[in-house]
Amino acid sequence: MYALPFAFYILSLIAYSIHFGRRTPSFGRAATTLLVAGALAHTFVIGMQTMEAGHVPFAGTTQAISTFVWLLALAYLYTEVTTEERGLGVFVMAIIVALQVLPAVQGPGVEPRSPVLEHPLFWTHVAALLGAYASFGLAAVIGITYVLQFKEIKAKHLVFFFNRLPSLQVLDVMNSRAVFIGWALLTVGLCAGALWVTDALAIAPADPRVRAMSFGDPKIFVALVTWAVYTFQLVARRLIGWRGRRSAYLSAVGFAIVLLNFVLVSYFLTDSHNFGA
């Protein structure tokens, strides 16, 4: 079921690459159209799963990744439409395609129903965190492109990115906005998660996953590290003038940790966050 959005995403990535390389306007429009088609198909799939399971598919890691990809696609489309800049598309699509491989190969699976999962705090927790990760993904792409362009201008050798990306100032502002939105959602998500655990202990005290919720759990620990990194980025920006390149590096590091936590830790290390089938 995930094959159709995946195919659209791949085609869109190809079109964005050609557009980035040759700057042919028609390929740019084609890329956006394909991405819209992919996002629509993806919306349809997620909608079907939601009707089937009674909630948005994000309990299992694979489904959560798919939902994250969907949010990232929407967030990017929003940025592209509001800024009229297509230069970031190829980078965002690379992440989208890379992550969507997992759901596309594994298939949607069956979303479990469980009273623990139907708690409103759980919903808030997962929705806020996926939104936060999508924002961070966008911020990381913006940060990377900032560094690429910064290096070109500093080196006085304006070969490639100069003609293809928005200005440093615009990238810096976009980066800090995306990080701020992500940080706010992350804070909400973590708080909702913490509150939910106390409720969940009352509803299902014997559930091993609920019992594994502690600061020592890899997933929770790394999430807190993520929060610390982004908090530092926001504070350093205001207080010690860490803007531009430093800020950009931090958002790239932050998102690397997010990916590590979201994919590797979820699949292999954590005992607490595994609600999939």
Partner: protein, 426 residues
């Protein structure tokens, strides 16, 4: 109808002659009206810029028209023909179209790909339409040329990248700050290059331009010229703190801004980058200042290197641009050729219509008993029948490779050249 171009440009004529051939000084509309009155020109457009003076006309006999256009150059500018003739070029039909397409794309410009030329051609065409001197052929040609100009600009990088030092500085500033409105510019020194760059930045809508110079009077002069304010020389350090873009162009023999001084302008509380454009020789800013985070330092050599690189890149796009132009020239030529079929097609239609009318007239007595509606129907049916019969041959004739031969055949087959055929058939 032939398309003929006669003109002189920076490629063929020295600047002294181009100055004297300029049509704009006495009014382009005057020139185009005078040209349209000549017998040889059925339609006329005059293109005149500082790098070219060109006459585009539609004419029946290109050879006599060409010498008449030479005469027009000579009459209008009161110069002996022998003076002008060696510097003129003339192109016919698709060569003329190719020339105009190359001009409108910026390929024939002094600086390849410069953007103004398309606007200048549009203006020239505008004057001609107001003077009603452009007809079907030149209308089609010029609109086609505008399209080609746009196509070349959007599909190739021919017009991309700054090709002057001051534009290179402005485009860098845009890449660092995005929109330049609201940015503050500091000009240190009152050199010419500094002035030029400041003028370009002003055009981008910067908020303020502050000028400081060791000689206050020079600073004041420059401030008046570019619409800026003057700051005293000893407050340079404070001015640096305020500025986003700094242009230095003093005649000082030692650097006036050390790395430490630039560093002092970048406290942690500063939220903006600093773009230093050092166009002075010898340099005004210590090159090590470039090591400071969020400081971008470009000197005149760096900017010139960018200009050279951009010119090379434009050069590399010429082939692609020529390809597009050739494609469009072929399309235009085939449209132009198809126009040769028009008189034959008109004659053919008139002939068929005459036959139809004659037949209806002959049958008039037999149709007398019919109702008016029925008669109208008969008229309609015969008309449609003729239209349908003529549709295919019309298309084929326009598309034909050798229009004159086929037109000739049609003319002979239907005896279209016999004036009184209508009556003789009756």
């Amino acid at each position: 109808m032939h398309l003929l171009l006669v003109g002189a440009s920076h490629r063929t004529a020295p600047v002294e002659l181009r100055e004297r051939l300029d049509f704009c000084s006495r009014g382009l509309d005057l020139a185009v009206r005078a040209l349209a009155e000549r017998q040889s020109a059925a339609e006329a457009v005059v293109v005149s810029t500082c790098n070219r003076a060109e006459l585009y006309v539609a004419c029946e006999d290109p050879t006599s028209a060409a010498s008449d256009l030479l005469g027009f150059f000579s009459d209008f500018h009161q110069l002996p023909t022998a003076h002008i003739e060696p510097h003129l070029y003339s192109h016919l039909d698709q060569d003329a179209a190719r020339h105009l397409f190359r001009v409108s794309s910026g390929l024939d410009s002094l600086v390849v790909g410069e953007p103004q030329i398309l606007g200048q051609i549009k203006d020239a065409y505008g004057v001609a339409t107001t003077a009603q001197s452009a007809g079907p052929l030149l209308n089609k040609l010029f609109h086609w040329a505008f399209g080609v100009g746009k196509r070349v600009r959007s599909e190739t990088a021919l017009s991309e990248g700054a090709v002057s030092v001051s534009f290179a500085a402005v485009s860098l500033a845009k890449k660092i700050f995005g929109n330049l409105s609201g940015r503050r510019v500091l000009v240190v020194g009152a050199g010419d290059m500094g002035k030029l760059t400041a003028v370009h930045l002003r055009a981008q809508g910067v908020a303020t331009i502050v000028i400081t110079s060791r000689t206050l009077a020079h600073a004041q002069d420059l401030a008046n010229e570019v619409g800026g304010t003057v700051a005293p020389w000893d407050s340079l350090q404070e001015a640096l703190l305020e500025a986003d873009i700094v242009i230095t162009c003093t005649g000082a023999t030692t650097p006036i801004l050390s790395k430490a001084e630039v560093k002092a302008a970048m406290p942690a509380s500063r939220t903006r980058a600093l773009f230093l454009i050092d166009i002075a020789v010898p340099r005004d800013v210590d090159p090590r200042a470039a090591d400071i985070e969020q400081v971008f330092l470009y000197n005149i050599d760096d900017l010139q290197a960018i200009v050279r690189e951009n010119l090379q890149k434009r050069g590399a796009e010429i082939g692609r641009a020529e390809q597009i132009i050739e494609e469009e020239v072929q399309k235009f030529a085939s449209w132009h050729r198809s126009r040769d079929a028009v008189p034959t097609i008109v004659a053919l239609r008139q002939h068929f219509e005459a036959v139809r009318k004659a037949e209806l007239e002959r049958l008039e007595p037999k149709m007398a008993s019919l109702s008016p509606e029925a008669r109208a129907r008969v008229d309609e049916i015969t008309r449609l029948l003729v239209e349908k019969l003529l549709l295919r041959p019309t298309e084929q004739l326009k598309k034909s490779g050798d229009i004159s031969q086929h037109a000739d055949a049609v003319t002979r087959l239907f005896a279209l050249d016999q004036k009184d055929r209508g009556s003789s058939e009756r």
